[in-house]
């Protein structure tokens, strides 16, 4: 059980600053995901919480107590590493009980705790094996088991699924969610895969270039991205962005001209816009439909069939690209010409700086 608080945390490697002042409160029992592309600082941030990386400036508080000067061994946190980092010279049971052994716990009690966790993770037959005799999925379970045995204040997970195949990833995602529910412990999960963050986390923190772009529940981020970056990062396939020019501003509506000359009317934002201003229109693939009278026209250059649905990749007449979700039974083929209609209610608008233009009724939590 732990709250973890970051106050204006900065990290510098020499003169080069990689984390630019992050404030964040991770609540007790929360499953929080740090997501961002490589180089966004998500792993560095996690390692600073763990104590494996020094904090250059600012404070890390664990349960309200400053932790910058507490060595990682004393923080009471457990970590699952991307490469698992099991001790190659120890058996699975020894790997799992190592922290208890260091804590001076008697052998009987250690064995008992290891068995209990092994039973929960269904890996009792593996206990006497060495790591090199295990498969990737089994190594991963041992790594999680090792973290669980010591009943830490919080779990820190650094891309724990990225070395697993797709099927195992999906299964382990569900298991981690189940574990979180059963253990009722704070979990901080780092991933570059927005799907993992969306499916598991209570709350997602999107990082970009060492700054928090936005945080919120998965649906909040999906429905109301605060920046162009978040809009493009959350959701797969990613949101379509089209360059548009403001034609006229009404009380409730906004008329935009697309680069092919067609116009589209969308609900007006609260922020002021002037006719002639160039902005970006964002629309998700599932919010574009195939329609003969649609305002966008293009040629299909790729089709991805996923069974229940298909994604159409089209090159538009002005050179921009569009991804459209359609039913799995589509009869369209590569090379066909098609017209598309944007569901104007479901669009997002971004100014030149990439910030979302707020609409009344939408809750945008940008930092």
């Amino acid at each position: 059980m732990a709250t973890i608080e970051l106050k204006n945390v900065r990290k510098r490697f020499g003169a080069h600053e990689v984390i630019h002042g992050i404030d964040l409160l991770i609540k007790d029992r929360e499953f929080i995901a740090f997501v961002g592309p490589s180089g966004s600082g998500k792993s560095t941030l996690l390692r600073m919480i763990a104590g494996l990386e020094e904090v250059s400036e600012g404070e890390v508080l664990i349960d309200g107590l400053p932790a910058q000067d507490v060595p990682p061994s004393q923080r009471g946190l457990a970590m699952v590493f991307q490469s698992y980092a099991l001790y190659p010279h120890m058996t699975v049971a020894e790997n799992m009980s190592f922290s208890l052994r260091l804590a001076g716990i008697a052998k009987d009690e250690r064995d008992q705790k290891v068995r209990a966790v092994a039973r929960l993770l269904e890996m009792e037959p593996l206990l006497e094996r060495k790591p090199r005799q295990l498969s990737g999925g089994q190594l991963q379970r041992v790594a999680i088991g090792r973290a669980m045995v010591r009943q830490p204040k919080a779990f820190l997970l650094d891309e724990p699924l990225s070395n697993l195949d797709a099927a195992l990833q999906a299964q382990t995602r569900l298991e981690l969610v189940r574990l979180h529910r059963e253990l009722k412990t704070t979990m901080v999960y780092v991933t570059h895969d927005q799907l993992e963050a969306m499916t598991m986390a209570d709350r997602i923190v999107v990082l970009n270039g060492g700054r928090v772009e936005q945080w919120g529940s998965p649906l909040e981020l999906y429905q109301n991205p605060a920046t162009l970056f978040v809009a493009g990062f959350i959701g797969a396939p990613k949101m379509n962005f089209l360059d548009v020019v403001v034609k006229s501003v009404g009380d409730h509506d906004l008329c935009l001209v697309l680069s092919n000359g067609a116009s589209v009317t969308v609900p007006a934002p609260v922020d002021e816009l002037k006719p002639g201003e160039g902005i970006k229109l964002g629309v998700r693939p599932e919010h574009v439909t195939l329609e003969a009278e649609g305002e966008l026209k293009g040629e299909i250059d790729a089709l991805e069939h996923l069974g229940p649905r298909a994604y159409i990749h089209a090159g538009l007449s002005d050179g921009s690209r569009l991804v459209v979700q359609t039913g799995g039974d589509t009869t369209l083929r590569v090379g066909d010409h098609a017209a598309f209609r944007i569901r104007s209610q479901a669009t997002h608008l971004f100014d030149k700086a990439g910030r979302a233009l707020t609409r009344s009724g939408a809750r945008i939590i940008a930092r």
Binding site: L77, A78, Y87, H89, F98, R146
Partner: protein
Amino acid sequence: MRSTWQLRWGLTIAGWAVGLGMFFPILWMFLTSFKTEITAVATPPALFFRPTLENYAAVLQRADYVAFARNSILVSLGSTLLALALAIPAAYSMAFFPTRRTRDILLWMLSTKMLPAVGVLVPIYLLWRDLHLLDTVSGLILIDSASVLPIVVWMLFSFFREVPAVILEASRMDGASPWEELVHVLLPLCTPGIAATALLSIILCWNEAFWSLNLTTVKAATLTAFTASFSSPEGLFWAKLSAASTLSIAPILVFGWLSQRQLVRGLSFGAVK
């Protein structure tokens, strides 16, 4: 097909040639130690002769071999242990907490091996005299461990570097202090490498002659001094010198033979992992 076959034979022959070439002096010394002084210097060299043990008898009568051998064992083991005790923490910190200067420090340490030992003989001699370390086993241990230290640090550094830092981080997260991390994780993982380093250090210290000859006389003299005492300027006693040399290298030769598997395994530690 034909060319790989030729290459294999060529390499085999070359390997044996080099091996025999390097082994021949030792073999010749061994044979000479069983000759009489006259057959030892005969031209052309005598390949067939009646072996005799008289040289060994003479050598063992003239000097207390056991005392020299005991000093050699004490000095080589003591120096190695001391060098390891200093080098393990040094290599650990340089391998896992490198700074901008780590490379420079390593090179500087190695560069000390480029200075001939005789360059510091006078200051060392005076220091050892004032510290009452002349002709003591501990004095010799101190100087021998200092002389193997750069090599020991370098070898350990390269072995430690093979261990992924994340495994040590995992142990830190598991609550290990730096000492526990070293004892429970790093050292067990590097056992082959540490063993190879220790073996090499023992061999180097065993064969070390310069300091033994200059800093000891009777009480702490090692087998290298024992051997040297038979290369007398007044007349050549090849057979006796060979017998003394054979006695000096026999223990380390046997030791090296027995531990060669460990040595090779350790030296190729990184390559096969």
